[in-house]
């Protein structure tokens, strides 16, 4: 069901945990399935210097947040904000159709974190 990239990120998630001196934080929940993703970001001069996440949910949710954190660290905000869920799914080598909501939730949460403190 899951490809090797998803399983790798699920079993060995990158950038787990809070970020020191964070400039942004967001935590969003999918009210239907209950997945929760939380992101911390530290932006310096319009560039994402550091990023960290926590996630509760299925492998797709955890792997999506991990892959996203790994791929956006160090990028200018303009590039990050242009990302779409489809890009993340592609980077993961694909997700089952019923699991793409995990990628969407990760991206929404990161975007919210970059906009300041959002969520609970």
């Amino acid at each position: 069901m899951y490809g090797p990239i998803v399983l790798d990120h699920f079993h060995h998630p990158r950038h787990v945990g809070e970020v020191s001196a964070a400039t942004g934080h967001a935590r969003l929940e999918n009210p239907v399935c209950g997945d929760v993703v939380e992101f911390w970001t530290r932006v310096v001069e319009d560039r994402l210097e550091e990023v960290g996440f926590r996630a509760f949910g299925c492998a797709a949710a955890i792997a999506s947040a991990s892959m996203l954190a790994e791929s956006v660290r160090g990028l200018p905000l303009t590039e990050i904000l242009a990302l779409e869920a489809g890009d993340l799914v592609e980077a993961l080598g694909g997700l089952p159709a019923s699991k793409t909501h995990g990628a969407a939730l990760a991206l929404e949460t990161l975007t919210a974190a970059l906009g300041g403190v959002v969520g609970s």
């Binding site: 787990v16 999918n30 019923s98």
Partner: protein, 385 residues
Amino acid sequence: MIYLDHAATTPVAPEVLEAMLPYFTRVYANPSNVHRPSLEARRALDQARQGVAGQLGARQASEILFTAGGTEADNLAILGLARAHRERGDHVITTRVEHHAVLHACDHLQREGFRITRLPVDEWGRVDPQAVLEACGPGTILVSVMLANNEIGTLQPVAEIAELLRGREILLHTDAVQAVGHIPVDVGQLGVDALSLSAHKFHGPKGVGALYLKTGTRIEPLVFGGGQERGLRSGTENVPGVVGLARALELACTGREERAEHLRALRNRLVKRVLGELPGAHLTGHPELRLPGTASFVFEGAEGESLLLQLDRKGICVSTASACSNATLEPSHVLKALGLPLQLAHGSLRLTLGRENTVEEMDQAALALVEAVRRLRSLAPRSRN
């Protein structure tokens, strides 16, 4: 590999395979003909029917109808009994925790104009027999309550329900797919009119099941054709499958109580370790009135599919009914019927034991499960821990 998914399916026992093999290659004739090879196949079929009837406590071999599995047996019972008794009424009673083979058949009946009552269950998943009786009205023709639940293992008071329905013209069906071969199942003692079973749940082959139908009970067939199975289930008989089912049932019923005791001991060891070492772990289903080999949990702060994948990596096979594992993104109807909060239903895990499991495997599985839950909790947002 540590296989703990026996409620999903079981390996075919070597003795069962051995019994089946001649009927693929040597005794392959169609049992419906009258030449000698056909008669040999017919004899095998008759013996299997006799054997199954005997194990279930049926009065006559003709009360056993072979089907292509438990789902077909359930569908035949629900649709076939309701349609055949339509002139007497239009009301069918079942519970919210039945297998989809029953619930979706009931949904279909509803589309045909039948009225369906889906009774709630208590926190352990048990239906109140009195509530079944109270739900009965003048138009009630059929009650269907499972003998043992496939997700949580809870046993239902089917015999008590039968006792309460006694003297009324209401048919009682039980889906005994998870129960047969694992706990005592006697159609006379249960007092049911119909009972479904499936071979692959007790070390028989997939693709074959049976419906016990009490003599004199009218039923409408679902499959039409050559009139096999007394005209109630047409189609050339699956002779190797039926032979395998009968042999598997015979083996399952031989020494069943000793095996059940062994499974209970293994399961209790597993449950005790998991609950003892993990705060926020809960057993689902009834603590006592449950299948001997079923351990089902919900965990706070750890999602079921993620747990399953971590255990799979260690070669441990289990099941989950969490929201993430369903296309609808909702927890299973059984977990919802127990009244579990969504957060808890998210972390469901089912470990179902079989005769080949060992004490060492229980300890390994418990350890791996405890580690997996802790690891997922370490990744989760803090307020969930």
